[in-house]
Each structure stands twice: as C-alpha cells, then as structure tokens.
Symmetry: C2
Subunit: 559 residues, 2 copies
C-alpha cells in the first residue's frame, strides 16, 4: 500500500495551490461557508477546516463508475464534490439546516442523489437558546438530506433536493438500499435517550447518559417516494424543501425499527437483502433481512466479538466486521442464497489487528459487485508499531489477505497525514483520469476559458486603476516576465500553462501576497488582488520543471 | 520507504490542529509574518503558505544530534524551527532584509548558528521602484544571514545574529565547512549577469540572460571572524546587525572564487577538505580542495553526465551526484586520503532513475560521519510510474542500494503530498522523541502550564464579559460538557488532556468557529475567541479515541 496523492478539499493546501489565490479553488472554498443563514463566527470564518469522514464514490447501477467522489464535513454539516477527471474539488456545499454530519453519506445506485444526515441534531427553536437543552424534543431536529446530483457536472443542486425531518436523536452511520431494497435508505441512531450531559452539575456524562436504553432505532426511509412527496407536501426552510416528520410518517416515508443499543455501522450486503448492524457496546451483530423487514421485523443476531462496528462484504456471501475493543476483524456468513441451514449467520474466522480498528474496507465492498481479495483495516491507534515521531502518533492501515483459509495480515502502512475515517477502494480501470487539460482549460468547467492566455498574444492592459494581465507559462519562462503597476491598483492576472506534456506542471507564487497557484499542463487560472504592498516581488515557478527552473521567474514592481 | 508523519509548519494543518485556534500554534504562525518592516500585503496577509526547501538538522561536532530541525521558506525569506522532542513547529522567523531564500540553509557544526541567504536579492533602494531593475547593482543586495541559536530552546535570536552584505547575484545552494574547513561557509551563485528579463519588450528571457557568462562566483565566507566583526563594524537594519560588503571584503570575511557557469549544488565532503560543485548546464563536476583554496584556486574538474546538481557522500571517499537532465546518479571518487593517483576524481558508476532527479540523500551524507548503505533519489517527475491520479502528478522517491558493485534501484515511493525539495536522513537512535507530555505541559515551553486544567478542579469563571474555562479531557468526556455564555463574550478556554497513555490523543473542535485543536496525552492548550455567533454548538473530540468516542462531546450555548 502506498499513498499516491492527497487532495485538498475543505482546507487550503499549498502544493496544489488549493485556496491560495486561484479563482478555481478560492471560489469553491468561499462558497463553502454560509455566512448568512447559518450561525458562523464572523471573526473566525469563513471556515477553512473540516472533519472529513465519509467518502461516497459515484455509482451506476450500484457499481462505482469513477466519475465523482463526495465527502462530508463532520464538524460543520457540509459536503464536497471532487471530480475524478482531475482529482480536484469542484464544490463545497454548506448543507441547509445541518450543523453536523457523520457517517450518513452515500450515493443512490445511479447517483441520482447523494445523502447526508445530521449527526448532532440542529437547534431549530432559537427563542430560548439557553434553556434549549432542557427541551431537546421540541427545540432540536434531525434531517435526512437527499441532494440532487447534476448528471453532467456532478454538482449538488439544492433547488432540486429535499430533506426529511427526523427525530432529535443522534443519527450515525447510514447506507443505501440496492437491488431488492432499491429506493430505500437506512440510518442508525443512538442517544435516543436525548441525553445532554451536565457533568459539572452532577448529571451523568454524555457517554453514560446516551447509553441507558436497551434499544435505539434503525431509521428506514423511502427516498423514491420522498422525492415525490417533496414536490407537494414540503415547506422551504433556508432554501431547502423539508418534509415535516408527521408528513413523513403519514406518507410512509419514515419507519423506525428497534435495534440493539448504541449501534454503530449499518451496511447493506451486495444483493440488497441483508443489512448488518454493529452493536458497538455489545459483542453481537444483528442482520436484518429486507424481505422480512417489509413484512415484520425478524432479525438474526449472533456473537462476533467485542466492539463490533462496521461491515464490508465479498462476493461470496461473507461479511467482515471490525471489532474496535477486541482489535480484530471477524468474518461471518450471510444466509440464502449464499449459505443455508446452520452454515448461515455464523462467525467463521477472526484475525487480530494493531490496534483499535474503526472502519474497514474490502475492494468495492459496499457496491453490488465486491471484487477483491484484500481487506484494509483502518486502525485508529498505532501505539508501538512505528518509530516514535513525537506525541501525536500516526494511525495504522493494515492489509489483510482474504484468499487464504485463515485471514492474514500482510503489511502495515502508517498514516501520518490526518485521521482517515472511512475509505472506499475502486478498481483502477474504472478511473478515467485526465493526464493533461486541452490548452486553456478552466478546471471548474473543463472547457476552454474565455480568459486563457495564448502564446504570442500575451498582454498587459490598464483600464483606470485595473490592470489585466494575460501570461503564458512554459518551460522555463513566464511571459511577460516584468509587470509594473501602481500601489492600490486592482490586478486581474490570467495565467495559462501552454504545455501539452503530462507532468509539466508549473507553479506561480507571488511572495508576500500569499499567492501560490499550481498550473497543471493546459490549465488556465485567474488570480485577482489589490497591489496594496509596495516593492519588488520576484514571482516564480514553484514546481521543479526543468534544468532552468531556477531561472523561471519574473518581477512584479509595485511603486 | 514509508511516510511516518507530515509536520505542519508554515501552513495551517487541521489534523494536528496547527493554526486552528490553539495558542501554541496560532502564536507561532502569527509571529511568522513581519507586517511592519516588510512589504506584505495587508489584505492577503499574514502569510499562511511557504515554499519549504531546505531542512537543516541540528548538529553537535558535525554529527546530527536529533534536537531540532530548521527549514526555510523560499518564497518569502523566512525560516522555521521544529523541535524533535514532539515534532512540532516552535518558531517561524521572518528574517529581516530577506525577501526570498533557497538552498542557503545549514547549521554550523555545533549549531551555534543556522545560516540562510537571499536567493533573489532584496530591493534596498526604494526611492525609484519602477526603475529599480535598470540599476540592480545599486538598488538590490543579497544577505548571508547567521542566526544565533539558543542552546536551551533551539530558537533563533535575531539580537545575537548578523548578516554579511553580498552582491546582488542570485545566491543558490550553500554548505558549511567542517573539520579542516570549520569556521567557513560556501555559497554558490548564478545570474552574476544580473539579468532581469523583459521578454515582452524583446529582451532575452531570464533563463537566457542569466546564462551568458562562462563563470559565476563561489562565495567563501569566514563566519567565525564575521561574528566578531559584527560586534564593532556592523550597522543595524530592521533590527539585524549587517556587515557592509566593503567591510566584509576588507576584513577578509568574503572571497569570491570563479566557478563554472550557473552552478547548482555546493557540498562539503565529510572530512571538510573537498567541496563539490555541480555544473547544471555542463556535464562536469568541479572539486575544490580546501587546503588549496587557502593558497590559491586549483580545482579538479571531470565529466559526470548531463545536468549535475547535488552531491552527497559516503564514508569511503565517494561522492554521489544527481544528474537532472540525464535522469541518473553518478558515483565518483575523491582524492587523498581516500583515493590517490589516477584512482582519484573519477566517475566509477552510474544508475538511471525515473525521472529528473533534483536532490539526493545518502544516510547522514552531509555530516562528518555518513553512515549508510542507501541513497534516496528525489525525482521531480514521475511521468508513467504510477496510476494517473489527475493532472497533477506525484513526485517519485527511489531507494538505491549502495552496497552492491553496481548501484541498484530497489523501490519507488510516490510523493503526492507536496513537492519535497531537499531531505536529510538521520539514524533513528539519534532521535529522542517524547511519547507523552507530563500532564499539563505547555508544548511551547515543555514545562507545566500555569493555566493547565486539573482533574476535579474544572471550572467556569466569569469576569465582566470574559468567560474563562478550565476543561479536562479524557476518555470519553470533556468536563465541563456544557458551557453557557452570552453573545459577544470573550472566551478564554484552557483544555488539558489528562491522559498519560501514549497515543491517547483527543481533538477539540468547535463547529462554525473554525476551531480545531489536537490535544496529545498530557498537553495543555488555550484557545481564545469572541462568541460572536449565537446558537448551540456541539463541541466534540476529533480523534477516534475509544469505543465511546462518538459520545465525547459537549454543548457551547451562545445566547
Ligand atoms: Cu516551472
Ligand atoms: Cu476523544
């Protein structure tokens, strides 16, 4: 296992020039914080950070199709879209009415919708914030959100989207129905006790208060019908069509089924029939059969080990479930048509991992067609596996062989660049990533930019206090290489990398102006700023591109 | 090869909570931009980005000692210090009079000083900025900067530091003398033509204009004497003692020796006697002998291949030089005492790499005691080595075996998280990194924080509009877990991770306030902000810490 690339999404990332002056990324990040409708700190916003948890690769007929990937912001109730043509972030959406989200991200089998739900419910009755926790049932609400995907661009369109109001529990992991259960979605919940803590006042801490009841509730949602009901029986709140909870219940959009207390993962098997729920505080996994859910609840429940969290599948009717407390992966069998009689719903193998596994991932293991021979264990703690590199330790991914009779750990990979939460594994041949852009391409539209600079047509134009510059970028020069402006001028600078060779990326940095842009081959970018600092600024190429890379610079003189 | 950890330095990094509200990192980043003495954009500053190029691990008697590492900002003329006890950034210094820097970073053999020099010279005569490029010789200056290191904290102390004014060439790579050449430093230069471009006006592009002359100049600097001269014959400019160029020459601090045109790397051999200069535009490497430099110049010059850049050494008298244009590493012999007669100064082996090698690194290969059997090639282009992951490709590190008769490439490692420039390799047993902090430690001082929260002494205090909070953090709760304040209150929030178990890191995020902090075991941090957004904010732990991690949250009610 090795990391090929990190993609800047919510947080500015300087190597990729993500959020350091390029219009194509700055505009995405800026649009990603709703400073008007949501209570965001004006002094500290817009948001430049997120807690990404759950990616959702786009699907066609329940298989990954390699077009887009969506990923949520746990902290702030947002979601982003990365285009897998160029592996860049194209949209960040601050989802109306969501203040947080967790594992509720998935796409529907043809990517008509991408789903995201609240984790911690949203304060909706703002009349008495101070006492709102005394009255969670009335003051707070959850939202199961179905974001309509534009099939041409992959972007989420709020005007075509809808939400289903759900109870103010803490909604956790979720998954989409497929094949026999197509049209439905499943969301786990916990803290149906609606505990709010208060440990300084002698009340039980949240982790105690939220674990009192024997049951929480699996939310079963009919999204196909929801899309119809939203047209007539919703009300618009903060720009989003919301179906009220009573309508959702009366229309048959929302059912609550009891599930073992404080569950964590809910994962639908490839055939859409079985739904595996991890018990978290209990050594059991519970398997719901969709055909029986439709009649009545009749679940299978068997012991797998301590702290069962998430399930992934292979194509032979096995589930693989992570055991956080036991630091292990358990392999179990599903029922018909895979296994029958006493061969079904049984623990068949277990392997120890190092340590504290959260999610796990089999190859395309959450699609209708799991493909692989391997499993990756996403271990939250690495403890003693690696050299000590300070007080913050990396996490540990382990590769597990599924082809041998007993599962076997093959290798470790330290992850010291973030706390990855869930991952998805896609077959390489499903990706159709571009090597280069056609020269002059705007990365936001994938089309020719009307302001792209062209070879031998470079120019500098002044209109009043605005200076507009068209610069070509190639090995090993910027043209023009000297730009003279006046203090206070507004600069609109168009840069185009006119190279057609794969890997011939150039950078464009302006010292002391906090501008750094990555110009991939063919890419056209614009940066705008006011020349408010006087001096001689040596702009230069930040990607080592050629033997004369160190000569690739120019002068911006601000006088 | 595998990556154990990425360290946030100049750019905020959310996993480590670097620059997202923690006083210990926010204060470092804020102090890292001089908004007063340097021409920095007020609208776009302070700087949150850097182009890190050259690390310098601290040394004792010319060997790495594992205390600190320094790294420069190529774009903005800055330098940072990372403490290797906890692998965190403790200081960012916006170096007076430097507008940029490149490869001029090294420590002296006992880390008395860390050196950084200008790359692009600094505009010093600001009377006619617009015409300043017509008069580079007068209007611009370079600075060889010797930053005094506090031996207790590793921090650079400007008041004890000094600069030597150097000509307005482009100073490039540099290295420090050692053993026989101790007390001296060496800096390459190029563009001694002082070309400024002007390609829109029909003048030659910079990469042409800067490559006209047959020779550039190796700068040879007596820093030990410089430290003395600085006490009496310097003038203070922007808080830094500067020795003027004429004084430097008359006092024998600065010598210029001709070197082949547009050289790149200058690297001093382990014994301090040989100095290898890469020709860049020429297939030759030039070796200077220190004993002969002191009498007169008498260099050895032999062909190694196209585009020689940087040299590293082993302990047997070999140099390994990167060939950018040829995409290869060449191995050559040094002279006495390693090799003599026609065995000396010869190309002895070459290995192809993939592709376009910039720097290279042997184990501790820039110290007095190179140790290793391996070499890492830092290849700027990967082209076809990896799956295509969009238009921006990773770089490629290759591991080369030096123990076999012919050098051999053993493996590839994609680098998709930045453009690494130079690296250093340190023996693991020289590192003495901490596993945990003693409970209540301020990471900036490594001492007990006076504002650390203590178990069972948690509290919330209001004084006027200021609310001060002392919170303990442990599996799986914050105490207090409910904080009620008024809109507009100033919040001073002290958080202490009271865990003593290695790897028991917790996070602390406040949604919509752009606050995310990493609290390693024992760590005490303070975050201050104004509660300017009204609502119910579910603060929570962002590091998966326990089976009840998802219950680890609290409520900040702002009403
Ligand atoms: Cu370039
Ligand atoms: Cu925690």
């Amino acid at each position: 296992m090795r990391i090929l690339k990190l993609i800047g999404v919510f947080t500015p990332e300087s190597w990729q020039g993500h959020g350091f002056g390029a219009d194509s990324s700055d505009s995405v990040i800026a649009a990603g914080t709703d400073m008007t409708n949501k209570a965001t700190s004006k002094a500290r916003g817009p948001l430049t950070w997120a807690d990404t948890h759950h990616p959702g690769i786009s699907e066609t007929k329940g298989e990954y199709d390699g077009r887009w990937v969506y990923i949520n912001d746990r902290a702030n109730g947002r979601i982003a879209m990365v285009d897998l043509r160029d592996f860049k972030t194209k949209q960040i959406l601050d989802v109306p009415n969501l203040e947080s989200s967790h594992g509720g991200v998935f796409v529907t089998p043809n990517t008509d919708y991408v789903h995201i739900s609240t984790k911690i419910p949203t304060l909706v009755d703002r009349t008495n914030i101070e006492k709102s926790l005394d009255n969670v049932a009335q003051a707070y609400r959850g939202y199961s959100t179905w974001l309509k995907v534009d099939q041409k661009t992959g972007r989420m369109d709020v005007s075509q989207s809808f939400q289903i109001e759900i109870p103010p529990y803490w909604q956790d992991l979720a998954d989409c129905g497929k094949l026999v259960s197509d049209g439905w979605g499943f969301i786990n919940s916990y803290n149906t006790e609606r505990a709010v803590g208060g440990n300084m006042e002698g009340k039980p801490s949240l982790e105690v208060g939220a674990s009192q009841n024997d049951f929480d509730y699996l939310h079963i949602i009919n999204w196909k019908k929801g899309a119809e009901v939203a047209q007539t029986k919703s009300k618009v709140i903060n720009g989003m069509r919301v179906i009220p909870m009573d309508v959702a219940v009366s229309e048959g959009l929302l059912y609550l089924a009891p599930e073992p207390k404080s569950p964590h993962g809910v994962d639908v098997a490839p055939n859409g029939e079985y739904i595996s729920v991890g018990g978290k505080l209990d050594p059991h996994v519970t398997i719901y059969a969709w055909s029986k859910i439709q009649k009545a609840i009749d679940d299978k429940n068997f012991e797998v080990g301590a702290g069962p969290l998430h399930t992934q599948y292979d194509d032979k009717g096995h589930g693989y479930i992570s055991l956080f407390i036991e630091s292990a992966v358990a392999k179990f069998t599903l029922g018909e048509p895979y296994f029958s009689g006493d061969k079904a719903f049984k623990l068949v193998d277990k392997v120890s991992i190092n340590y504290n596994i959260g999610h796990l991932c089999t190859m395309e293991g959450d699609t209708v067609k799991p493909a692989g021979k391997y499993l990756v264990a996403l271990n939250k703690w690495s403890i003693d596996r690696f050299l000590t590199v300070g007080t913050l330790k990396p996490q540990n991914f382990q590769l597990v062989d599924l082809t041998t009779e007993k599962m076997e750990v093959l290798s470790d990979m330290p992850i010291g660049i973030g706390e990855p939460h869930y991952v998805q594994a896609i077959r390489a041949d499903r990706l159709k990533a571009w090597e280069v852009y056609p020269v002059g391409t705007d990365p936001l539209t994938f089309e020719k930019s009307p302001t792209a600079a062209e070879k031998d047509k470079e120019k500098v134009e002044r209109k009043g206090n605005t200076v507009e510059i068209w610069t070509t970028v190639t090995r090993s020069r910027f043209k023009p290489d000297t730009v003279k402006v006046k203090e206070g001028d507004k600069i609109i600078w168009h840069l185009t990398n006119i190279e057609t060779t794969p890997d011939a990326t150039h950078g464009f940095s302006i010292p002391r102006y906090n501008v750094n842009i990555s110009l991939d081959p063919g890419e056209a970018v614009t940066t705008e700023f006011v020349a408010d600092a006087k001096g001689a600024f040596a702009y230069y190429c930040t990607e080592f591109c050629s033997a004369l890379h160190l000569e690739m610079q120019g002068w911006l003189l601000v006088s």
